[in-house]
Symmetry: C2
Subunit: 350 residues, 2 copies
């Protein structure tokens, strides 16, 4: 069975606390928007699609418990909650897009003469639950499209993939984006091997991707981020995305840019795998993306123990931007694989 | 005062146990060859020049305690000890070169009719102690040559340098190679800022370089290895070397190759700073360099605590090879700064 990071059943939401992996597999119940915001901020849940889904589902749980019958009060609560949830982390676009869609939905529903507090709640809940299902279906399409595209570009029976950070069941509603491509190749019997980077400073590769790969019995080797270039020969690189903008520039986990530079030098294809919900056509280029800086302790301490020399200054951007010209393989979406220049039309059309 | 990692005074050798840095500054006495070998293997001391010096000084301490008066027994002990010391770690060339030089010296001395156990011991001890002094003098030359060369290539008053691993007082007899260049720039008032990578998996950058930079009040920022490419604009990269071969290919701490690839892409100069003792003209090219693989625990555990998911395979090469064509700044030695193609003549002439 695939690992489930987000369990939503009969109105109750449990999330796997990813801070405790790989040591403990511990699910925590989320039943308020405040708890959803905190879980995202603390990185108990991370990954652009998963952030959106957990944030929105936390709103569902609170709406379901609420006895509020005043329509205006419900609308205000929903709109304020969405605004608040978006503020938890700035770089991933999915939750911002979901919030915008839901806000528009609420405004449309409110206009209807027959609408009540109950009907508005119901329409929001239905929309959010469908997001969960859509994300899994989209990921499966991403996996299959990406796998077929990579296989069409190599002259070998089996592909070896290098990936970064965690983009699997733990980062999405299920299946995964870049890890979905790996999963699909494995299911087809066309996967030779995976190299996963440990992904400093937060070790999502060592803790989470390695956990998922071992769990699924996918042949894989862990390397330090700095070993990627020497491990890169004759491979394809597939990473996820936190935000893909109009020209194809992509924000993803810090270190992605370095992998893209190296893939270019080694003349191997570099792919970004992301659902259309990660595409933000409101921004022209990557320079406009806000990059979150995380606490210094993530880099200087591990499990609460200081590893860096005291007194040293630290820079800890959580993401970097890969310019579109380095995305040489393509952007793998649920609609197909597109070059950065084709993406805009495809997403608008899709 | 500069940090001293190797203290040799009146025949007694103490080394700073670098495994305990930055938490504890603890010196340990080394008084046998076996202890010298173990300190090198366990990485209590690391850095190509420092490995050579500590290994050889451990032989000095044992020779000084010995009452052996049989000439053949002394010669056999010296030659066997040197062979053993070289086996502690395979990639750095300095100790192998020192061992070869000392073995040749011993054979020459043995030929002399008047030589005794005492004269042979004395000549070996004198030679080794002079190595210690020469290494510091060479490093100062490396620092000054490198600083002048970098300043001649930039159009600014002050240089910003990105460096990897630890190449400072802790990696050499004192002053440092790449960190020597940084130290010289700082002394000249021509250093803007240093970015030091944490240098996974062993964190020599976070633990040791950051420690030295704070100690010396040099303005510096710690980054994860994967952040180097985004931190790279308008900088020069200066790293050390464990072995530079005939065509200029260079083995150094894993991650160096990735920095060189990125420097090339960003069109910024990439320098290797190393004494001539790190040059191995017996090897034609980098493919012939033996790369040490270190225990998996270095990557999967930190301070004895597992960070990676159980069951994942691991690849942990300690070094990688940077091809000479990526060393675009030059190779900084105590004799001057040379392009890889000029190196051979310079070293032989020098």
């Amino acid at each position: 069975m695939t690992l489930e990071a987000i369990q939503y059943l009969r109105g109750r939401l449990h999330i796997l606390n990813q801070l405790l992996l790989p040591h403990e597999t511990c699910y925590e119940e989320i039943d308020t928007v405040q708890q959803g915001w905190q879980a995202i901020r603390d990185m108990k849940v991370r990954g652009a699609p998963a952030i959106a889904i957990v944030g929105c589902l936390s709103l569902v749980t609170e709406l379901q418990q609420s006895n509020e019958e005043d329509k205006d009060a419900v609308v205000t609560f929903i709109l304020d909650s969405l605004k608040y949830l978006v503020s938890a982390r700035p770089t991933a676009v999915n939750i911002a897009k979901a919030a915008a869609e839901l806000s528009a939905l609420v405004r449309r529903e409110t206009q209807k003469a027959e609408s009540t507090a109950a009907t508005i709640k119901e329409s929001v809940i239905t929309h959010i639950v469908s997001m969960l299902e859509k994300d899994i279906a989209d990921n499966k399409n991403i996996g299959d499209c990406g796998a077929r595209h990579i296989l069409s570009r190599i002259n070998k029976e089996k592909a070896t993939i290098l990936t970064h950070c965690n983009t699997g069941s733990l980062a999405t509603a299920g299946y995964g984006t870049a890890l979905g491509v790996i999963r699909s190749l494995h299911a087809m019997g066309r996967l030779e091997h995976v190299f996963c980077t440990e992904t400093r400073p937060y070790n999502q590769g060592a803790r989470l991707t390695a956990f998922e790969l071992v769990y699924e019995k996918i042949p894989a080797t862990l390397i330090a981020d700095s070993m990627a270039s020497i491990a890169m020969k004759e491979k394809a690189v597939v990473v996820g995305a936190d935000r893909v903008v109009l020209n194809g520039d992509t924000a993803n986990k810090v270190g992605t840019y370095q992998l893209a530079v190296s893939a270019k030098y080694h003349n191997i294809p570099f792919y970004v795998a992301a659902p259309c919900t990660s595409c933000d056509l409101s921004l022209e280029n990557g320079e406009q993306i806000v990059i979150e800086e995380r606490p210094h302790q993530e880099l200087t301490d591990i499990n609460g123990i200081r590893i860096a020399a005291p007194g040293i200054h630290v820079w800890n951007p959580a993401f970097d931007v890969t310019p579109h010209e380095l995305i040489t393989g393509g952007i793998i979406t649920e609609l197909g694989v597109f070059s950065p220049s084709e993406l805009q039309d495809a997403v608008i059309r899709g």
